[in-house]
């Protein structure tokens, strides 16, 4: 179809005739002038307010029909596709995949790999190797040109020896120009060093900046910067490079040519369930924190135990002697990084809010709906903390019982 504007005289006539039965239905459509220009209809801008007075909402906040009609929807843009069909060389990246998704560290590493592959008009391809399950929904914008995916059940567990052998096979077959791994505690640092020892290559560890010929890496446990020539194997730190954006990549799946299974000397026996209160407060993933508003401390401890949460406290609770000093959360205590932080009876002093700035989801249970913690929280429960904790306990028990019941019925069936 051509883009030439065709006039629809009938629709225009209906638009003019306010008594036409189809007039109101057609009001949503954009009106065009005789030359095809979009025309603004001043009659459609307004709506009738609660007192029967005509109102014009210019803030764009209201979601009512009339105003949403005037708002233009952002068009869904399709990002351009970066295509490499016959790459001159490969840049190998081994991604960490924490809980089947790419981490930000992975994305930074892939960004650096794209920079190395495309600098100085080179035509390289970024080859990502993923071990285990991969369920990332934004994989196409991560910067992966080619993908090798090891997805058998053996890779669901910790088997660095097998992974190292697989990587060696890939390196021997494709001869990548550089090998990049995140220097992380999620397995990248370990695997990269294994691979480097096996290949007999000296890696650059703790790399945080890459220029054309030189690397800048942290030495002496972070106390010095070492400037050294570019190496083949790079273990990179977080934020070493901007992750790619505004482009899609092919992520074409490459077949596995050589697969060899080795006899592992290490066997993963699974994770132990650790006592949540033995976990360091700074690295705990789920914290239940109590403050001045907690009246029933035995209940608080019981809830923490049943939910499996690490216990924290505000300064007031520590000063009053309800919790030990090492449990204090905040600028004068521990800066926490929990995924979920539940604050019971904490109004939110500035120091406390600073200490929880790294937390993902904050839940406030408080009497006062105007306190600072409620302003910070993603979810606030206003009311008596004991009653809310009681209800929460009941629900958790029901939830667990339901789960067990389901499990049993599956077993019997």
């Amino acid at each position: 179809m051509s883009d030439v504007f065709r006039r629809n005289p009938r629709a225009q006539w209906i638009g003019r005739n306010r008594l036409h039965p189809l007039h109101h239905a057609s009001r949503g459509e954009p009106e065009r002038g005789p030359s095809g220009l979009l025309r603004k209809t001043p009659h459609n801008l307004s709506f009738i307010g609660p007192n029967g007075i005509k109102r014009i909402d210019r803030s764009g906040v209201s979601n009512d029909d009339a105003s949403s009609r005037t708002k233009a929807k952002p068009a869904e843009t399709i990002l351009p596709l970066h295509q490499v069909d016959a790459p001159d060389f490969y840049i190998l990246v081994v991604v960490d995949l924490v809980s089947t998704r790419l981490t930000t560290h992975d994305r930074d590493t892939l960004g650096l790999a794209q920079q190395l592959a495309n600098s100085n008009n080179a035509k390289g391809a970024v080859l990502a190797v993923a071990f285990g399950e991969l369920k990332d929904d934004k994989l196409d914008t991560a910067g992966i040109d080619r993908l090798i995916h090891f997805d058998s059940t053996a890779y669901q567990r910790y088997n660095p020896e097998q992974r190292c052998v697989d990587l060696c096979n890939i390196v021997n077959e494709l001869q990548p120009k550089h090998i990049l791994l995140p220097d992380s505690i999620h397995g990248g640092g370990d695997l990269g060093r294994r691979l480097a020892a096996r290949l007999g290559q000296r890696p650059a560890c703790g790399v945080w900046k890459v220029t054309d010929e030189h690397l800048l890496c942290r030495g002496a446990d972070g106390k010095t910067d070492i400037i050294r020539p570019l190496t083949k194997i790079l273990l990179v730190l977080e934020e070493c490079c901007e992750p790619v954006s505004e482009t899609r990549y092919q992520r074409r799946l490459l077949p596995l040519n050589h697969t060899e299974t080795i006899i592992n000397c290490m066997h993963d026996q699974g994770n132990l369930s650790v006592d949540p209160n033995a976990v360091n407060l700074a690295e705990a993933g789920f914290i239940l924190s109590g403050g001045n508003g907690v009246k029933d401390w035995p209940k608080f401890h019981l809830v923490a135990k049943i939910l499996g949460a690490t216990e924290g406290a505000s300064r007031v609770a520590v000063d009053d002697g309800y919790m030990p000093r090492d449990r204090q959360v905040g600028a004068s205590g521990t800066w926490v990084t929990a995924k979920v932080y539940i604050a019971v009876g904490i109004s939110g002093a500035v120091q406390h809010i600073q200490g929880i700035s790294q937390c993902d989801k904050v839940v406030a249970i408080n009497n006062d709906d105007k306190c600072d913690m409620v302003k910070r929280a993603d979810l606030s429960a206003i009311g008596d903390s004991t009653a809310i904790l009681d209800d929460l306990l009941n629900l958790v028990e029901q939830h667990r019982a339901g789960k067990n019941h389901q499990y049993e019925s599956v077993n019997h069936g």
């Binding site: 060093r193 302003k375 910070r376």
Partner: protein, 281 residues
């Protein structure tokens, strides 16, 4: 099904293994640490934890090795602080600065290979790449396991041991691995005991000269500066229109969705839903 393990239970299990570790030879590798702020030489934190782990298993039969320049006051005082933990002696291989330590250690371990080598994850000075245990493991054909916090059991007859590995968020993974192995010790391992002065004075430093040292040529070409502060990542605004750019520059960041609920039953349900969606329950 793994049982619930508290710190106390682990320490009891390790104590029981004192008997199990009979006939096991354990070596630890130590280095000279450096205080992060003052830069003064000190016990390297992770190496001291490795010695602590070894001492708990085999007491004073622990074999300890240091390779590096020995003829100066600082080195001796640091090595004495290791001795003060209860070691009988430390073997020293005296080599000049910037020598390839791995080749000397390889020669030493090829002559008599221990069942377990314990060491810290990375040095506190120099390149600090953390490659040494991996190089040794590869050349000596030993298993390597990174960042352990405890050795749970050792079975010399069957030829395997069980260790606990530190994972992020305070989690622990149990790994069964075959002897002989090299393990790097994590900071989450039990804190090292204090160094006792008398013990440090009684202990012996046995110095051996090495004549086949290769200098690390590559490292001498690097330029080493004080660590500069890393630039903070900027928030990149990819706004297409002027209105969007204006909004991004002026709009105040709103603190989450901020749902407020006044009913206790309803709020408990919402909290439960949040815990389930975050994968905690």
């Amino acid at each position: 099904m793994p049982g619930k393990i508290t710190n106390m239970r682990v320490s009891i299990m390790v104590k029981d293994n004192m008997a199990l570790a009979q006939g096991i030879s354990i070596s630890t590798l130590v280095s000279i640490g450096e205080h992060p702020l003052s830069g003064r030489p000190r016990r390297a934190e992770q190496d001291a934890r490795a010695i602590e782990l070894g001492l708990k298993l085999v007491a004073d039969k622990l074999h300890t090795l240091y390779v590096g320049p020995a003829q100066n006051y600082e080195t001796e005082s640091v090595l004495r602080s290791y001795l003060g933990m209860g070691l009988g002696q430390i073997q020293i291989v005296d080599v000049p600065q910037h020598t390839d330590v791995a080749s000397i250690l390889l020669d030493s371990f090829r002559a008599n290979r221990p069942d377990i080598i314990l060491t810290g994850g990375r040095a506190e000075n120099g390149e600090s790449s953390g490659m040494l245990p991996y190089l040794l493991a590869d050349q000596l054909n030993m298993t390597i396991v990174a960042s352990i916090t405890a050795i749970v059991s050792i079975d010399k007859q069957a030829g395997h041991a069980e260790v606990l590995q530190a994972l992020p968020r305070g989690q622990r993974r149990k790994i069964k691995l075959s002897l002989p192995f090299i393990a790097t010790v994590d900071m989450a391992a039990p804190a090292p005991r204090q160094s006792a002065y008398g013990c440090a004075m009684r202990g012996q430093l046995v110095v051996k000269q090495s004549n086949e040292c290769q200098e690390d040529v590559e490292q001498s070409q690097w330029q080493v500066n004080c660590a500069q502060k890393r630039p903070k990542k900027l928030k990149i605004i990819t706004a297409k229109t002027a209105a969007d750019r204006f909004k991004a520059a002026t709009a105040k960041v709103q603190g989450g969705s901020g749902k407020v609920i006044y009913d206790s039953k309803e709020s408990a349900q919402e909290i439960l839903n949040l815990l389930i969606s975050e994968g905690i329950l």
